[in-house]
């Protein structure tokens, strides 16, 4: 892939308007300063289009997922994704997770972590720039702002204008729409925790639980405040990720880069300067990259913490380069390695000021030595290790999911007394057995003993007659605790504690689980 291709290479006389804009966030700026408002200009280009697509997909997933239905039969909810806190069940399409299987969620979090390492080491802060909720919602809120107040210049003008009816309605409409989006955002969240259609009805008619209203209220407030009012300050001052990120980038990570080896010396009057024989770079100092930046930075000041790599400056710059007939990619995704190599060419190994002639042929095209992004650097040891761990955890989870039990038995020996001497000299032990029927269908579970051949058992409420095999009805998707008494006749009692197993079996499905137990006697206890 060559990021420096241009559709229309050729001289152009189109003059580029210079935008009057100062970066709001700059590496050298004082630490204590009142916030300066940012009025990002609308960008157009391939990255902007990609961001629209990502926004559509991520918001679509967030808002619509709770409304997807998934038939699980009459004994389980039909919502595809549901966190049922009251019954302690998590449903995800064909997967149902019980609380003790929460490690699947932990595994997903581990995968998310390594996925983030992988993505970051390969393509830099792609999470920040494209998919972070803060970025997506700020983007959405900016669409609303632009709709009511116009693009950058109109907004600056409106902001400076004294209060008038026109300004009032624009501001009210903007904030009202923001609040509506915020309510919808908070509202969508609660639908993940209850049956969406019935909760929506209850919510609107005032019958929903207080926790539903307070959750929506809190998330409405955070969405409105973080997305509408605080915006870039969240990324710069509140979020730890930009700080952690620096540890994950390396020389081969793609980051949004201003290629000053071809841009400098920048000049607003390139033709005059060129005519005067001065070296002239590609940057016409139009400030388009600064004007579109939602973070209010100037990417030409180099990599900086405030840059979320949304790539809108690339779009803005590419537009300008197209206009003046220069190749695209003055601002581009580039690795530090290729940037350093090209910089060395332009500065004769760092000994001189940047000279555009160092990287160009006399006809203006780049010399062959200029390094371009090579997709193969993505496949380096580091990313392969991340990918390896990521996929190993993923495969482990899938394997564990496919081979997990849906029928379990747990046994707890009575602690006090450890055994009971009956009047005929036989010894009795008490156990609490818990059967877990983890499918949404009622089942008849056969409970039996393996080992301890002379013993018989009684199950309170199931059978008063001693035996060794009992059928127990277990409700769908429920557990059932049974009080079981196992009696060993006097002649069979040894002085040793005996190990045996309780076995639970679902005969139709051949599902079987057993649990080791101990029979204690007066001679020995375990």
């Amino acid at each position: 892939m060559n990021l420096y291709t241009s559709p229309a290479l050729g001289p152009s006389d189109a003059s580029v308007e210079r935008i009057d804009v100062q970066p709001v966030h700059s590496p050298g700026k004082p630490l204590y300063e009142k916030r300066k408002k940012i009025f990002p200009k609308r960008a157009e280009g391939r990255f902007r289009r990609f961001k629209w697509l990502v926004m559509l997909i991520t918001l679509g997933i967030y808002y619509l997922t709770p409304w997807i239905r998934w038939d699980r039969g009459p004994f389980a909810p039909d919502q595809a994704v549901l966190v049922d806190l009251a019954s302690r069940r998590f449903y995800f399409f064909f997967i149902e997770i019980w609380p003790q299987e929460f490690f699947y969620v932990a595994g997903l979090l581990v995968m998310a972590g390594f996925g983030l390492f992988l993505v970051t080491s390969a393509v830099g802060r792609a999470w920040c720039g494209y998919t972070c909720p803060q970025t997506v919602w700020v983007d959405l809120f900016l669409v609303v702002e632009r709709f009511f107040e116009g693009d950058r210049n109109a907004r600056i003008k409106l902001d400076a204008a004294p209060w008038s009816l026109d300004k009032l309605w624009k501001r009210v409409a903007k904030h009202a729409t923001w609040l509506a989006i915020a309510v919808a955002t908070g509202g969508a969240w609660i639908f993940y925790f209850a049956d969406a259609p019935s909760l929506a009805f209850d919510f609107v008619t005032g019958q929903a639980a207080l926790v539903a209203y307070s959750t929506v209220a809190i998330l409405t407030a955070t969405t409105y405040v973080l997305g509408g009012l605080l915006r870039e300050q969240v990324c710069i001052y509140m979020c730890p990720w930009p700080r952690i990120q620096a540890a994950m980038l390396d020389e081969s990570s793609l980051v949004v880069t201003y290629n000053d080896w071809r841009g400098e010396p920048r000049s607003r009057h390139a033709k005059k300067a060129a005519a005067a024989g001065q070296p002239v770079g590609d940057c016409v100092d139009c400030n388009a990259c600064v004007a579109v930046c939602p973070m209010g930075i100037d990417i030409r000041e180099g990599q900086q913490m405030a840059c979320i790599t949304c790539a809108l400056c690339i779009d803005a710059c590419d537009g300008v380069m197209d206009k003046i007939g220069k190749p695209r990619g003055l601002i581009a995704y580039a690795t530090l390695d290729e940037y350093d190599a090209n910089m060395a060419l332009a500065t004769s190994g760092g000994t001189t000021a940047i000279d555009p002639a160092g990287v160009r042929n006399p006809d203006g095209s780049f010399i062959d030595k200029v390094r371009h992004f090579d997709w193969r650097v993505i496949f380096r040891l580091r990313t392969l290790i991340y990918f390896g761990v990521w996929s190993a955890v993923g495969l482990g989870l899938v394997f564990s999911l496919l081979s997990r039990d849906r029928l379990e038995v747990n046994v707890l020996h009575d602690r006090n007394p450890q055994f009971v001497l009956e009047s005929d000299g036989s010894i009795r032990n008490g156990y609490t057995i818990r059967l877990l029927n983890m499918i949404p269908e009622p089942r008849t579970i056969m409970v039996s003993m393996e080992g301890l051949p002379e013993a018989t058992m009684k199950i309170a409420g199931v059978a008063d007659v001693p035996g060794r095999l009992f059928a127990v009805q277990v409700e769908p998707d429920k557990t059932l605790a049974l009080k079981v008494f196992v009696t060993l006749p006097k002649d069979a009692v040894s002085s040793e504690a005996v190990d045996f197993h309780f076995v639970a079996e679902d005969r139709p499905s051949h599902e079987k689980d057993s649990y080791s137990a101990v029979f204690n006697t007066p001679g020995a206890r375990k």
């Binding site: 007394p417 001497l421 005929d424 009795r428």
Partner: protein
Amino acid sequence: MAEKHIDELSGIETTGHEWDGIRELNNPLPRWWLWTFYACILWSVAYAIAYPSIPLLTDATKGLLGYSSRAELAADLDGAKIAQGGILEKISSSSLEEIVADPQLNQFATAGGAAAFRVNCTPCHGTGGAGGQGYPNLNDNDWLWGGDVNALYQTIAHGIRDPADSETRISEMPAFTDILKPDEVRQVAAYVVSLTGTPRDPAMVEPGKQLFADNCVSCHGEKAEGNRDLGGPSLADAIWLKARGEAEIAKQIQSPKHGVMPAWGARLGDVAVKQLAVYIHSLGGGE
């Protein structure tokens, strides 16, 4: 007040506080902090008006909302009572057999009985009801006065040898010191031990058997199987409440010890005793 001092680097006035040559800048408080502070003051005023707050000599101001933590506790307790009220009434009006047969009542009564047991019964019977020497094990199937729920209820409600309860279960084994000679006591003891399958000298057992038939069968039964109407323990089973071994048995014959269990009916009430009976019945030895 000291003279105003302006920090040279920042151009900001200092507070006049100095430590090791370091001065504190008198920066204004952050606005968000200040507004939060003011909001807290307003909140505290409103709170003091709405809730009980200002202490008076014997009482405190009631507050506009009329809130009281005692009233809240009372309401919570009432709520808890209402939540279980139906079941307690059902237990009160149902027979013990009905309670055992109904899964919901059974579960509730077992849990309630377990709680009452831990508070009232564990000092003698142990936390698991396993008892000890002289204190019956409630888990096994050996019952002095009967092990079905109704018999258990009767025992718990009226106690054993409780002088304060007219319906209490009473039985007393006489001391045989004056009736049997020491040799004869040893013979009876040897016979009793032989009943549980331990071989003993026939020269002792045979006269012991005759003595047992003459003196003991009225309470302990012809085969020493016990008599629940009189609370006479079975001497032919594996379980020994008071004595274990020949010497101890002989001692018990000469000067018997008798346990006392207080009557709980008047103290805990009918519903609690019913629940206790159901709980003990569930321990595994219930009949």
